[in-house]
């Protein structure tokens, strides 16, 4: 088994003392980020990214990905103890987690949540370990048309799978592409949409957009929702943990189902949030006692947490092998790879073995260590949330401003952060999805160059996109996903007409 050998090599990279240290720092920072409102996986990683520019890329990605795992764990703490989802993907966890805490079973709920997160992540990492090299080998044959087809599939699946109105998803995505196009055109060197402003020459950096959209936007939305943090306290002792673990064994079906949903939604960029909702819904539908859901059923914590963590982890699979991130946080990590001078994509597995397998090994370690860390430190994190919001909010804004500034040492970026923050608030209120915007901003240049290269290859013939079975089927699948919402709208229109005819109108 080649993969096992590579993985063992990866462990030898990840298990050095400095890397384990970075792992711990990353996990603790990640949980903190997950617990605090306004700081999440995506913008937390974006703010810390500039600090890693001078680090060794392997250590840097280990630390940053551990921040991501930590944030995934941390989201569960606030949703169970405070009924405040620290992250969008933990909204579904509040449905049953908070009622459990109200019944005084917070420790059980937290243990169940952390364990489920761990199981979800573990299986997703196993999937990455064995699927990623295969997919990478396969993708080595890809040319520009194939890459464009995969990118097309990514974006179409947003429109097809998103819960938000499809036209708004499309608009948010195209807004991202438009922002990505600002600045110098990489092929011809012409300036686009700069209108004579020197600040616009560099274009819009997605890190600034992420900090503004998710950080400032989130703070503004939190202001609106009122700031009373009334939480339950929790201490976890070892007896409760063992007891809960024993209880969790009977939910093996839920685990398997949620892992599958999570991995699927992570690899196709549905992301962790829809995965958690979908998994919660499926668990409820499959359960015998549907009534108990929403009133404190452990299964209602297990299902969304497993799926969210599996999706969050699986999102790194397409990022590493194809250079296409499955979630906004994965997009930020991808941006990091580019800055450290690593080209994500299939060649990464050939040229940067240490890096890739070190990262994969650190995923195993990070999740094991993460589980232990959160189980032992829950009371402290809960205490942090008792700091009044008027203290936390301006400090978080200050941190966001520092993060925005350090990306390019540019004050203009701090102003842009504010602009993106206002957009984030408005978009969230009006149900424009933010994830496709960020992904389009990150992938814009790549998608454009693969499209233009394909067009060059074919001398402008669109037929290159169905010239062989691979491109053809990817494109067909994209168009199918693109038309999915239209089909749904048509069906509901027909049904309405039928109902009207039946009523004799």
């Amino acid at each position: 088994m080649d993969e096992i050998n590579s993985l063992m090599h990866g462990f030898s990279v990840a298990l050095t003392l400095p890397n384990v240290g970075f792992m711990l720092v990353g996990l603790l920072l990640g949980v903190l980020i997950g617990v605090l409102p306004g700081l999440g996986g995506a913008n937390g990683v974006a703010i810390l990214l500039p600090l890693t520019f001078s680090m060794n890329p392997t250590s840097a990605i280990i630390m940053l990905s551990c921040i991501y795992w930590g944030a995934l764990f941390g989201g569960a703490i606030t949703s169970i103890l405070f009924n405040i989802p620290g992250e969008p993907w933990s909204v579904a966890t509040t449905f049953d987690g908070f009622p459990l805490a109200q019944q005084g079973r917070a420790a059980e709920a937290l243990t169940a949540a952390f364990t489920s997160s761990f199981v979800g992540a573990l299986f997703a990492v196993l999937a990455i370990t064995f699927l990623a090299p295969l997919l990478a080998k396969f993708a080595l044959e890809f040319g520009p048309p194939e890459f464009f087809a995969v990118q097309m599939l990514t974006f179409c699946s947003f429109i097809g799978m998103s819960k938000e109105p499809p036209m708004k998803t499309l608009a948010a995505m195209m807004f991202g592409f438009a922002l990505a196009a600002v600045g110098m055109d990489t092929v011809t060197g012409q300036l686009r949409m700069t209108f004579g402003f020197t600040e616009m020459l560099k274009g819009f950096d997605f890190l600034i957009a992420v900090i503004g959209l998710f950080g400032i936007g989130e703070i503004l939305t939190t202001m609106e929702e009122g700031l009373a943090f009334k939480g339950k306290s929790a201490k976890i002792n070892f007896r409760v943990v063992l007891h809960t673990w024993k209880e969790l064994l009977q939910y093996w079906r839920t685990f398997i189902r949620s892992v599958l949903i999570g991995c699927w939604m992570g690899i196709t960029p549905g992301g962790a949030t829809p995965a958690s909702f979908m998994s919660y819904g499926m668990a409820r539908r499959a359960a015998k006692d549907k009534e108990s859901f929403g009133r404190g059923n452990i299964e209602g914590v297990v299902a969304p947490e497993t799926a969210a963590h599996a999706a969050g982890t699986a999102a790194l699979l397409p990022m590493l092998t194809l250079g296409i991130p499955g979630s906004p946080t994965a997009a930020v990590l991808l941006g990091g790879l580019l800055i450290w001078g690593l080209q994500p994509g299939p060649l990464l597995f050939v040229e940067q073995k240490d890096f890739v397998w070190g990262l994969i090994a650190s995923m195993y370690l990070g999740n094991i260590v993460g589980l232990i860390v959160v189980l032992t430190t829950v009371p402290w994190w809960a205490a942090i949330l008792r700091i009044p919001f008027p203290v936390i909010a301006p400090v978080i804004i200050f941190i966001c401003a520092i993060g925005a500034y350090t990306v390019h040492s540019s004050i203009f970026d701090v102003v842009m952060m504010l602009v993106f923050g206002v957009f984030g608030y408005l978009f969230k209120k009006l149900r424009y999805p933010l994830a496709p915007l960020v992904l389009a901003l990150v992938l814009g240049d790549m998608a454009e160059s693969s499209f233009r290269q394909s067009m060059l290859l074919s001398q402008g013939e669109v037929s290159i996109f169905y010239s062989n079975w691979l491109v053809g089927s990817l494109m067909a699948l994209s168009i199918f996903l693109l038309l999915l919402p239209a089909w749904g709208a048509l069906k509901s229109m027909l049904r309405r007409r039928e109902a009207n005819a039946y009523l004799g109108r």
Binding site: F175, P390, F398, Y405, G421, L430, F451
Partner: protein, 168 residues
Amino acid sequence: MSTESETPGPALRRRGPEAGVALLLLVIGLIVIVDSLRVGIEWADDGPRAGYFPFFIGCLLSLSSGWTLVRALLSWREETAIFSEYSQLRDVAAMAIPLTVFVAAVPFLGLYVPGALLIGYFMRRHGTGGWLATLAVAIGTPIVFFLIFERWFLVPLAKGPLEAWLGF
């Protein structure tokens, strides 16, 4: 938030911001189209020109936001969905206004001093802590960040006259 003045009542209706944002995106889409036409959307000797790809993007952005705008305008009268209550908007403004002042001050004063002022203002205005706690957090936080960034990671942040006077 320019639509705050219309429809007196406890809540701001959704249709105003909905149409406003859609219109803004439509205008951005049109700008993209115009600029793509300027740099050229056709082929040159060496391949597609710079406006080739953004032109499509501009078209799709204009179409999708135009759709949202038209729908918002068509259902203008019967639409009753709520964007936010005015009291909630006041809470948002309580954050947004000091935030804007903070960002506006950064070019002149650097990051540290406006940061301290923002934290101090917010704790005094909305918090319950005393002067001592406020001063400690407001001045302590920037100092901690100064140490982390400038000392440990050697990443210089924007500085203003105060830092210059202190000799940094």
